[in-house]
């Protein structure tokens, strides 16, 4: 396991980044943003693959493979459905750029 202080540093910085990136989102995009964030935690697939790759006992392997299937559904389905929603937003003229909004300097 990694040094606890390093882990804590990583967590604290990630919390601030997480707060920062979504703090100015318009309510029009709440559904796609929720769906996109939902897809990102599907990355638990990496964890499921690791445990499945280390499972020796058939029972443990079965449970691990179930976890792989569930995580894949979360990850792949999440990104696909988010893309479908956003496709509809994108199929028209680009949003009228509103002064101030969306111009946050990054």
């Amino acid at each position: 396991m990694m040094d606890p202080i390093t882990l804590l540093t990583v967590v604290v910085l990630a919390v601030f980044v997480g707060f920062e990136v979504v703090s100015k989102v318009t309510s029009k995009l709440h559904t796609p943003l929720m769906s996109g964030a939902n897809a990102i935690h599907g990355i638990i697939l990496v964890g499921a693959i690791i445990v499945a790759g280390q499972a020796s006992d058939p029972w443990l392997l079965t449970v691990a493979l179930i976890a792989v299937v569930l995580a894949t559904v979360n990850l792949v389905g999440g990104f696909v459905v988010t893309d479908r929603m956003l496709e509809m937003f994108g199929s028209r003229n680009p949003a009228r750029p509103r002064a101030g909004a969306g111009e946050d300097g990054t």
Binding site: G18, T26, A37, A71, V76, V80, T82, R96, G102
Partner: protein
Amino acid sequence: MSVLGPGWTALFYLVAAVCFILALKGLSSPRTARRGNAIGAAGAFVAVVTVFLSAKLENIPLIIAAVAVGSAVAVPVARRVQMTQMPQLVALFNGVGGGAAALVAVLELGHSEDPWVRLAVVFTMLIGAVSFAGSAVTVGKLQELISTRPLLFPGMPVLMGAVVLGAVAACGFVVATGSVGWAVALLVLGIVAGLLLVLPVGGADVPIVISLLNAFTGLAVAASGIVLGNVLLLVAGTLVGASGTILTKVMAAAMGRGVTGIMFGAFRGGSTAGSTEQSDRPVRSSSPEDVAVQLGYAQRVVIVPGYGLAVAQGQHTIAELATALAARGVEVVFAIHPVAGRMPGHMNVLLAEANVPYEALKELEEANPEFPNTDVALIVGANDVVNPAAKSTPGAPIYGMPILEVALAGQVVFLKRSMRPGFAGIENELLFDPKTTLLFGDAKDSLTRVLGAVKAL
């Protein structure tokens, strides 16, 4: 295979983590949202390839088969789901993610000796199980497989207390002994806690709960990163946990509610107030031709679309009606309540699907000051978002939620399926107002007939 050394592995995981940050950042603005999502997917792909190339893995063919099965299930569902059923699908994907995190933690218990790591194991299991079961209930409520009204039974708070105490005890035993039996008990208790937590939540508040459970799953994934010593899981999970928490608060604020009020309101009682029965008080019902005259000779019409429009798949017809009215010189705008539909921002997705121009969509703050200059407010399949009870009836489930103030318009026309109350289960006084007329029927049918009548004017 161990093609990649630890240094390269860490580097590729960092690339994936940066992709996730850019994805969330991109999703916050309409212009960059789709690209953001694609960046996130690319990051996930990099991470999955990296784990195959870096860790010493057995069973690789079976794992690849499981990934293929998961994709084969998820892609067609995600491609074909009706836009109206989007909230259910997001909740479902969230639930299975939580379930996967809980299973990963159980399996890692045997490899965990350090008490701190075991603490992360029990945290992942508990939160993952709560998220799994809670999401299942939200799916049931949104599909109306179970009642959308808050579900409470006598002794529920006592049972909840007992479950929480039991879960804490089980956590203690697992951390102290590493016992798999207690771990399974903890999973079961987590599932029961998830059910008890979400069953009492009223239908109107379900979207907030989905967002909250999304943040929960993020935290479970973050804790699983500590369990597995994997920094990517830790960072990605924390990102989702933090951004999901903020998003939940923002959404709750849009509804004028606090998150704790939503989660525990029913336990305290009072949030189930309001009429459950259909009233037989007289209303003024109207014909499609009358509605067409009202709309066609107005100067300014504001359309308030709601979930009923989406259910009837009427978004294309309403877009046509707006075009027909605009051709007659009527100014037509859509007033979109932040929670119109069944999830914040849901209605924007539906109207975007029907090619309604972005400029015609007004958010609540923009729309409300304009109602006094509006001749006709046309409410299609919406109820709770225009219900004055939100302002006038303390104790109503929606009390305090900002509403679209359609009562300030000259005339109010409701297209409604029936007199059944809305998702929140409360009657709308506005239906009985003298300036209100109602046209009953399926939203799409009614719109088609109104559209025909407008064209014939």
